[in-house]
Each structure stands twice: as structure tokens, then as C-alpha cells.
Subunit: 316 residues, 2 copies
């Protein structure tokens, strides 16, 4: 149900974000024609104040993070963005300036990534602000990068650096030092790795949102391979030995985790470098297991305190 106050709210903040097919956000649904002969890729993410962002995080980066997390899901599938829908459930007494900044951040990123708002819904809630964003993208049929295609012998790769976002959260939440705001920025404004031409090169892909080790477990289980990671090879901005575990198990990287046969190593590097995206080989897929093991330079296994890194509990 849309209340009159919502029409004005939508018109003020969100109509300027709407693009072709959105019908000015005034019809029952959006209508768009996807590029001919392409498959559709769709994902949705929700964010809750106090859980996924902090009440004093700048409004301008919150919408950007939500949009970029979804764009990162498209990147993980090798898909290109088409548009998005947004729902906002806001507590009473909301600050209009907050939403103006929130929308301004979205406008910035729409321009950066070439997509527009297709539709949405706004409601009130008695609880904290809840946002959800559905993203639509497209990919050539049969060319989506899935999690289940890794094979024994494949190399394991990551883009960018791992652990910056987790350190950024500590900076913002616990006052860790961050001289130039680098880590805070990495936490607040992830960089979706869109546009890499990895079809036919990578055998599996996903974006790292919940921590490298846990997320590698998804590829391991989906593909039925073991994954061995050389801790020392994992590219980290902060190489402090005491932060190793945090970087390998903390979330909010939004880098890509990729597997590819050794014969594709140069092609994979070239595809990433064509987009100025650093990529690093960090390990290998092995037969006979479907878990993740992390090894130090001396070949000893590293065991992390965080539970669930080699398997998921049956229930919690």
C-alpha cells in the first residue's frame, strides 16, 4: 500500500534516479526489453541499519555499498548490469536530508556503472531502516560463471587485495588506525569487478563477501574439489602477521575468487589486466576432498578460531 506521503518521498528522492522502462515510477511495474539473445541474471540483497551499516555511516555511501554489493554479484556471474529495484522500510521521524544524500550516492554510482532505477517500494517500519535492492543484468547464454565448475588441478585466483574491508570495519567500529581513510573507504565503497571477459577462461567464480576461507568453501562444495590456499600468497594491503586471520576470514572484500586450469593462466591475467584489475594466484584445487585448507610458508596447516571455515554446521 502506498500512502500519499510516500508519493512525495518517492518523487523527491527516487524519481530522478529512474530511467527508461521505469515509467517514472508511477505505474504498476517497469517494462524493459533485455538485449536480444541474452540470458537474464538477477540477484537481491538486503541491508539493515545496525547490522550491515552503522547508524553514523555517511548516507551517501550506504546506497552505494548496497548497489555495489549487488553489482558484485553480477560481476561474479560475468554479467553486465541492466537496472535495479529498491525497497526502503524506514522508521518514523526519518531525516529527509539523509535520504537526499542516500539518493545522491546512488546517482553517482548509476553514472559510474551505467544503470538506472527501474522501480521500488517504500514502507514505514517501527524497527531500524531496512533496504533491499534487486539487480538485473544480462549475460550471453551459457556463459554465466558458476560456482560448480572448478576441477582438480585448477589454480585458485583472487582479484585485488583481501582483508581491506574487514580492517575497515575495525577502523570504523573499534578505532583502529587508518591514516588516510583507505581502509574505511574500502569497507564503505567496495569495487565490483565488472567487465572482466572470463567466459571460457575461468571454470568457477564468486564474489568474496563473507571472508575468503568461508566463501572458498562454497566453490569447494559446489564443485566437489578441495581448495588449498597458500596464506603467504594472498594479496593483502596490510601484511601485519597478526592480521592474517582477520584478512582471510573477515568479510566485505567484494573481490572475485576464480578458478582456472593452468593452461588459462595467461588468458586470465590478460582479461583482468585489460580492466586494470590486479589478480593473484593463491592456491590450487585438489581431488578427493571438498573442503578448504590454508597453509603457511612452511607447509603447516593454519587453523582459524572462527568456526565453520571448513564446513557448515548442520543447524544453528
Amino acid at each position: 500500500m502506498t500512502l500519499p506521503a510516500e508519493f512525495s518521498f518517492i518523487g523527491r528522492h527516487f524519481r530522478p534516479l529512474s530511467g527508461p522502462g521505469a515509467l517514472d515510477l508511477t505505474d504498476d511495474a517497469a517494462v524493459l526489453t533485455p538485449p536480444a539473445g541474452r540470458s537474464l541474471v538477477v540477484a537481491v540483497d538486503a541491508m539493515v541499519e545496525g547490522l550491515h551499516f552503522l547508524p553514523d555511516d555517511p548516507a551517501r555511501t550506504i546506497g552505494r555499498k548496497l548497489l555495489r554489493c549487488n553489482l558484485s554479484d553480477l560481476a561474479a556471474m560475468g554479467a553486465a548490469p541492466l537496472g535495479y529495484l529498491l525497497t526502503v522500510s524506514r522508521p518514523p521521524g526519518g531525516d529527509d536530508a539523509w535520504f537526499a544524500a542516500f539518493a545522491a550516492g546512488l546517482a553517482d554510482d548509476q553514472a559510474t556503472f551505467g544503470l538506472t532505477l527501474l522501480g521500488g517500494d517504500t514502507t514505514s517500519t517501527t524497527g531500524p531502516l531496512v533496504l533491499s535492492l534487486t539487480i538485473l543484468g544480462h549475460v550471453a547464454p551459457g556463459q554465466a560463471l558458476l560456482r560448480g565448475g572448478a576441477r582438480p588441478g585448477d589454480d585458485v585466483w583472487v582479484t585485488g587485495t583481501i582483508g581491506d574491508g574487514a580492517i575497515g570495519l575495525r577502523v570504523l567500529r573499534d578505532g583502529w588506525p587508518d591514516r588516510d581513510g583507505f581502509f574505511a573507504d574500502r569497507y564503505r565503497v567496495p569495487r565490483p569487478r565488472l567487465g572482466l571477459a572470463l567466459a571460457g577462461i575461468a571454470t568457477a567464480a564468486m564474489d568474496i563477501s563473507d571472508g575468503l576461507v568461508q566463501d572458498a568453501g562454497h566453490i569447494a562444495r559446489a564443485s566437489g574439489v578441495g581448495i588449498d590456499i597458500d596464506a603467504d600468497r594472498v594479496p593483502r594491503t596490510d601484511r601485519a602477521p597478526e592480521h592474517l586471520e582477520l584478512c582471510l576470514t573477515g568479510g566485505d572484500d567484494y573481490e572475485l575468487l576464480l578458478t582456472a586450469p593452468r593452461t588459462q593462466a595467461e588468458a586470465l591475467r590478460a582479461a583482468c589486466h585489460a580492466c586494470d584489475v590486479p589478480v593473484t594466484r593463491i592456491g590450487q584445487c585438489v581431488a578427493g576432498r571438498s573442503d578448504v585448507r590454508v597453509w603457511d610458508k612452511a607447509g603447516r596447516p593454519l587453523l582459524f578460531a572462527r568456526p565453520g571455515w571448513t564446513h557448515l554446521p548442520d543447524d544453528v
Copy 2:
């Protein structure tokens, strides 16, 4: 961010709802190929506990209502369903049996309407339960029914009966009498009017969710026509004169409001009756205004207490 507990929750309740393209809800996004040569139709609705449904509403009908409200948006565009995505932000200590019943209701309606779950996200929240559902549908290019096509002289039609849902809410909330549960059921389980072959017949369409008079205002403004409604012609299950205003301005009908030239009257009736959907002519579009006026049998204007029925406030 997906926590281990969420994997189990998703697997238990939502994986059984997933269909082709959903990749078992274990990949970064869903991949689907829309029917060739069709346009895509997308909409999203959010529902919040305590606002859109009551804490003691049966869980089995809550998911169905959310899905059906979205299907009603597709119906209003003349589109057919393709699939949906769901986000659940749930308070701590949630009752697993509640979600089992919620998912069972969705399973029932998936079978009824021929669609499956494509993807989703679950998070926690410290506030009330927040649900959002994104629906995808398809329509022949250029044949989506929009709100802006009504022309002076067009007749105004509604499907089904108007006001049942508003009375149902009074039954459930205020203890109004409801001998056989008819009105409560109409509130809880709306009937999306999918499948009506109205392209080329109706000039404008929308679904009535916020009350006939307010929603007619959307067509009036989008089309630049005045809409005159004969109160006495509006089909109502409860014809009690004292409930007229409630029925015409209350929400939760999820019937279609249609306009069509007089020459299409028989075609419109035939298209609705082919789907066993009652349809009734309730008024006319006129030139020179873009508001909604309701008239009694004696030709006197009916003015309702509820604000905003002829225009929206500039701001609230």
C-alpha cells in the same frame, strides 16, 4: 552477508521453492532466459509486520498475500509471471514453524500461478519482520497496459467486487461480523486477475490496492482525463449503505481498474468472462479535468472524509 545459520534456514524453507535458473539458491545470482521476443516486466513490494499484516495473521497466508500483490501488479500490466525473488529480515528468536507455514503458503501459490523462487536474501533485524518480494514477468513488446492511455469518452470498468478487503480488515482488526470468513479471506488472500487478454482492448489499467477512488486518481492524472464514478454501479458484496465510503476508499481490493472505448465494451466483457472474471462498467472518462468525482444515483457528488481522494497533497 550470509551467516552460516542463514544457509540452513534458506535450505530448510526456501530451497524447496526454487526452480529452474535459481541454481539451488547457492550461487551469486539466478540465470534465466526470458521467452524470446518478449519484454520483461518487474515490480517489487515490501510488507512489514504490524503494518501490512497482523502479528497473529496465519503465516500460511502472509507469503501468499505478498506474492499475490506482486502478481496483481503483473496482471495490471497484462503480463504473465516468470519468477520471483524474496528477502526476509527477521527479528531474533523467530519461530521456525512460522517460516515453515509461510513457505508452505508460497508453495501452494507457486503451483497455482506457475512460477518459482529465483533467489533471495535473509538477514536479521532488531525490528519487526520485513519481507520484500520482486516479481519478474513478461509481455509482448508494446502490449503492456499502462496507466496513461485513458481517453475522454472511455468507459471505466472494475473486475470483481470492491471493498471486500477493506471490510475484511475491519473483521480481523475490529471484530466486525463475518459469518463464513468470506471477508477475512478476501483481505488475506487477494485474487490477482492474471491472464486477461486485454491488449488492444483496454486503454489503461492498474490494480486497485489503495482504494478505488485514490487509485482512479492515478489513471486520471497519468492520462490527463477526469474520471466520473457512479457509486451505485460499483459492484460490492456488502451493499450496506453505511459501508459505501469504506468500500470505495478502503484498500486491499487487488481488482483491476480498466478504461476502454465504448466500441470495445463487448470485447472487454468477453476477455474477462473467458477467464471467469466478472467485470462491471462503473463510470466514464471526461475531458477538461484530471480528477476523480463520485456521484450518487440522484446525480449529487459524494464527498468523502478521507483526504487525498481528488488530489495528492504537495507534501506531507
